[in-house]
Every structure is written in C-alpha cells, then in structure tokens.
Subunit: 392 residues, 2 copies
C-alpha cells in the first residue's frame, strides 16, 4: 500500500507536487507551514485534511509514513533527522542543509536507519535525457571512461525571488542560485561523469540587492549569478555559468565533451556528435506532455522550470514503484529509487558548495573536503580542555 | 587612389581576403611567406605578381602602401614596426604580438607615425549585430551606463589546428584558443561595455596533445579550452567559455545583462528583452549574403567562422572608404576606421592575455597591468648596475 504523505512547506512547488502525488495514488495526509495563516490557506486550496505550524504534529501522525521536505533549507536537517528517527521515509529538497555539519547529521541518521528510504530531490537525474546521456557515456560514446575532457553547463533564467521578502532573499537561509540551481548542477555532472569534484573555483555575486518588493531596511543577500570551475577526480574540467538575469525565460544546456565525441542536453532533448561524423545525432527528443490528465495547475507549473519538474515527476513515479510490491513484508523496496541522490550525495554537494563559497570569499582555488566528523563548534574551548587534560 | 597591398602570410584566411580585396578595388601587389615553396604556390593560386620569403622585399616595394599582416603572431611586431617606420599603413592580425613588450613596441611605432593607419584585426567590432548592440547599450537599453551586471560569452567550435604541425600547435608562437579567439572576446566586451578588465582569473587547458597528424616527438602545446572571468572597471563581470572540442561546428553567443534588460548576439543576429517585457525583441537579423559576387571561394570561406569573416569584410570596406576622399592631400583619412581596434587596444588585450596566463599558472586572480615601459630584459643585471652606481 502506498504510504500517507506529510508535506513540509507551502511554496509554489508544493502546489505542483500535491496534485501530482494524488494522481499517482498517494494520499497527502498533513501539511506543515511556518505560519498558521499561510498553511491554512494552502491546506484549503489543496484540500489537505490536516495542517499545522508544529513540526512534530506532522511527524508523529500514524497515517504519515513518507515525509516531503520542501521548505527553506535551514530546516531540512532538523526535520529529516527527526523523521528518520521515528521511522518515516524522507524525500528532502536540495540542498541537504545549510552547511556540511547539518548534511552530516542527515547522513548519520540515514545510515542508522538503512532500511528507510532517504533521498535528496536532485530530480534532474530522473530526466530521461540525462538518463540517456549517462547511458551513452557508459557505452563509450565519448571514448573510454576517463576520457571526458570538458563539461560545460549553462543555466539562464529569471529571478528566483518572490514578490515579498522571504528566505529566498537570504543567503544565510539557503536562498540564491548557487544552492538552488548550483546544487543540482554539481550533483548532475558528478552523477553523469562518475567523477567527483576535487578542487573548485567560484565567483558568486548578488547584482540585484533591492527590488520593488524588497527595499528599505531589508536587502537581498542571496546570489543571483554564479560561475564556477571544478577539477574532477577523473581529469574532467567542469565549467558552469548560472545566471538569474534573464527575466521570464529558462534555458539549460549541459555539454559533455570527450576525445571521441560530445553530448549535449538542451532542455529535455539529447544531441550528440561522434568525432569525424558529418552530422549531429538526435539521440532523444522529449515529446511527452507534462499536462496530461490536467492534474497540473498551469500557473503553478511555471513555479519550477520544466526539466526540473519533469524529473521530479519521474522521481515520484519511481517512489511509487518502491512502495508497490506487496510480497515484501516491509511494504517497500529501495531498488526503484536506487538512481536517486542519497544523503551521502547531499553531503558531497554541500562540501562542494562550502568550497565554492570559500573560493569566492578568498579569490582562490579550494580543495573539496567532505567531512566525516562534525565540526568542532568551539575549537578554542576544545584546545583549552585538551591542554588542561594534558597538564593534569 | 586605393593603396597597393602587400600581404604577409599564406594561410587559408589569405585565400579569403585577397579575392575580397580585389572585389573592393584594391590591388594586391606582393605576398610574403615563410618558405619559398609555400608562398610560390599561394601566389600562383591567387595570381599575385610578386612573391618572396624576405620581409624587406615586400615592405620596400614602391607599389605597396598598405601592409596586411596575417602570419603567425611571433612575427607581428617585427613586421608592423618596420612597416610603419618606412611610412606604410598596417592592418595587423590579432593578437598584437606574443607579449606586452612586443605590443608596446607596436604602440610606440604607431604613436611616432600618427597619420598612418595602424589597426588590429579585431573584426567583430565591425559585425553589424555588435554595432547595433553597442548602440543599444549607449542608448540605455540595459539601463544607465555602469548598470551592466554580467557579460557571458560562449564560443563553441572545432579544432583550430591544420592537418600538419605548424605555429598553431605551438603556445610559444601564439597558437591556441586564448590568443586566437580569446583576444577577440576580450577586445569585443571591452569595446561593447566601454569598460576595461581590472582583475582576471582564467583556466587554460590543452586536452588534445596529439592528433593523427601531430604525434611522435612533437606534441601540441597550444590550448584548446579556456574559461575566464574578468572584473571590469565599471563593475561588470565577464565570464567566457571558449571550447575547441565541438568538431565541424561553430556557435558564438554574447550575452550582456543590465538592470533594465539584456541583449544577446547569436551568430550575426541581435536579440533583446527589456525587464518587464513579455516578449523578446528581434533587433537585428543578419540576412545579407556573404557570397555575393561569387568572389569568395566557399571552401576557403570555411577557414574562418562566418561572424569573423563578415566583420573582416566590413572592416576592409571601411578601409576602402578611408582611402577614397580625393580632396584630402595625404590621400587618406582615419575617420572611417575610427571604430577599429588601435595598437593601444592591442596592447591592452595583450596585457589581459598575459594576466590570464599568469592566473592559470598560479591558480589565482591577477590584476591587469598594462605596461608603459619595455620590461627589463635582465632585471638582475640592472639591479647590480644600480648597486654599483650607488656605491661609487
């Protein structure tokens, strides 16, 4: 039987996901929002039977077995760790948390409850074009493995901000193009190339500090532009340009070059060209209609770019499969979501984001360091304790 | 009367330019090549009456008044300085030279003979789409001046190498994507934004070190990939990705964003969008046919990408106008080529290239330093001399 779902968050994405979850047969039992006013409105609009502004009131419900965390990143770790601790499956929006320390707590929780499903919403992995791209790379379209030379990613889109001040304006709460789009790019290219970032360099900027809606004493600290380079473990070089200065448009191109050819995903379509070939191969064209069944409110559908939404829908489809086999006593298997980003992947992405922020601050290349122990909250105190222990 | 032309170089570009020069009414009197064999062949094919492998034999000819330097960059400065010194006009291919020292010598020569025309072949300035883009920026399409936020340039193309080992394979002779394409990009964005690079960061790579034609004891040292960022004097941030790993194709996109809108040149066409507008403006479509008059050999036309060739043709048209006004006693005026890149511009571009190379070598941001004095060839010796002078 499909698990009952508890949703954390009241953003536009929620308005897209809830109808789609129902279409797939899931029951959405409860929703949490930061304020009662906001969550009441969304619960009414989406006809969700229970709403609250208390986290535990959703987590402890008996009819909720799967948690969708789609709120501001500063709450991700807290909710995810608690949910796993009381035996609930978790799908957590990207990025994993605000820093590696938070992401590591999530990893620990997922390792402690290995039978529970715990995945990060890096939905592009599920977009068919990228599935095909990965298969082509594994099959040697670009040459032998390790022969990948350059990955170039470009995302051009409008502002990520809403018409009011909220966490999206705030760098310290996880807003901005690096955490919200860059995290996807880091996960995607690492997944596609089977290589991990070793050393990175980034330029992160906030050009638009005020808008018609955010001005006066408040200003925007979340970045609206980011360009970064990553040296990968297998020798590939990744360059990415993420730009929020093209209002009302969205274009995303992912190019991967190897000695034997190149592959390019534009939007949801995959093109390729083998070296020496006189023409471009059209490997996959995305003609499937997202709006089938009419379940998706078209204005809400504009909330997230098409490739991300489509990947998310495919991922929810995989999640459904994970819960369908009835012969399994536990009621679920993990295989259908094996493709999904794990909390470990989330920790790695967070490590790269931390390195990019440090690179930007210090204008230097920074080695990616995935932590395995929680950072010491007060290194000076600890050192003093060590000294006093030694002197005793 | 139009001046007689002496051409330096025997590459494919020469085979495109010479017929076009004739179509415009110029007489090509002499050609120089590195080897007699090579130059003899090209002279015969292009029906140029005089050929030689001695530089002076072209420069000293009485029927030659305008020099086209389209050979390897290591010879640019030497030929340009000599030509100006004996009163000949010079069009010199980019980059100005191999280093700032060479470019500075060219600047000095052009300053010493200010009435002579001395321009660098940064032909994209003459491409109509970029002329329109510059006008739109000046007219405030992107907002007030200084409100430019991001310029993003992407050039994707095939290999720059020929089917044999030559200077294009050699970094120290000026080969590679940074000097040959990057120099254009640096000049173009500086020209379009009326800002200059202050601080730069670059990643320069040679992924393809051998080919079917270059292997064994020889290998390729010229870069085939380059990604760089430039902080501009007016606050704009430039990002550029130049990629030689897409065989048999060419795509070039120049995006400039401001607070009030953005402008994008794709190929030879200009698009724009004002903030708040619901649709993209098609500002300029390049429908003019390059092949008019049949003057251009189509295989040769593949030698340089269309926007560069078209810009070059427009520049030659301007050069023609410069020599047309008969009422001027000297026989030429500089106004029609006022748009062209000067040798000073060439020095600036060279300073940026030098800074990018240093940035790549040291993995750091580097301040752009345009030299005004020739670098000391032996700083240790000079210091010793100064010390001995002081002690005397």
């Amino acid at each position: 039987m499909l698990p009952g779902i508890g949703v954390f968050g009241t953003g536009n994405v929620v308005k897209v996901i809830v109808p789609f979850l129902r279409e797939k047969g899931f029951k959405v039992e409860a929703i949490w929002g930061r304020t009662l006013n906001a969550v009441e409105e969304v619960a009414k609009e989406l006809e969700i039977p229970f709403h609250t502004n208390k986290i535990d009131d959703v987590l402890l419900r008996k009819d909720v077995d799967l948690i969708f965390i789609i709120c501001s990143p500063n709450l991700h770790a807290q909710i995810a760790v608690k949910a796993l601790g009381i035996g609930k499956h978790v799908l957590c929006d990207k990025p994993a948390g605000l820093c590696q320390g938070e992401a590591l707590k999530m990893v620990r929780a997922s390792q402690y409850y290995p039978s529970l499903i715990s995945i990060i919403n890096h939905s592009l992995r599920f977009l068919p074009a990228f599935g095909q791209m990965r298969r082509a790379i594994v099959d040697g379209y670009l040459g032998q493995e390790g022969e990948i030379t350059v990955c170039d990613v470009r995302v051009q889109m409008g502002s990520l901000l809403h018409d009011a001040y909220d966490w999206l304006c705030d760098d310290t709460m996880g807003g901005g193009v690096l955490t919200l789009v860059g995290s996807h790019v880091i996960d995607l290219v690492s997944h596609l190339t089977s290589q991990r970032a070793v050393r990175v360099h980034g330029v992160i900027r906030t050009f638009t500090k005020t808008t018609d809606y955010v001005n006066g004493i408040r200003h925007i600290s979340s970045p609206d532009f980011c360009a970064f380079q990553m040296e990968m473990s297998g020798g590939a070089l990744v360059t990415a340009t993420l730009n929020n200065h093209l209002p009302a448009s969205f274009s995303q191109e992912v190019l991967i070059c190897g000695q034997a050819g190149h592959l390019m995903v534009r939007g949801g379509d995959l093109y390729g060209r083998k070296s020496g070939s006189t023409k471009e191969d059209v490997i996959y064209l995305d003609v499937e209609d997202l709006q089938r069944g009419g379940a998706i409110n078209s204005t809400a559908a504009n909330a997230i770019p098409r490739p991300y939404m489509k990947g998310l829908f495919k991922m929810i489809g995989a999640l459904r499969e994970a819960f369908l086999p009835v012969e399994d006593k536990r009621g679920w298997v993990k295989e259908p979501v094996a493709l999904a980003a794990t909390f470990e992947d989330g920790l790695y992405v967070q490590a790269v984001i931390d390195a990019l922020k440090k690179s930007n601050a210090n204008r230097e290349w920074v080695k990616v360091n995935v932590i395995t122990e929680e950072p010491d909250p007060d290194p000076l105190l600890s050192a003093a304790v060590r000294r006093s222990t030694i002197s005793m």
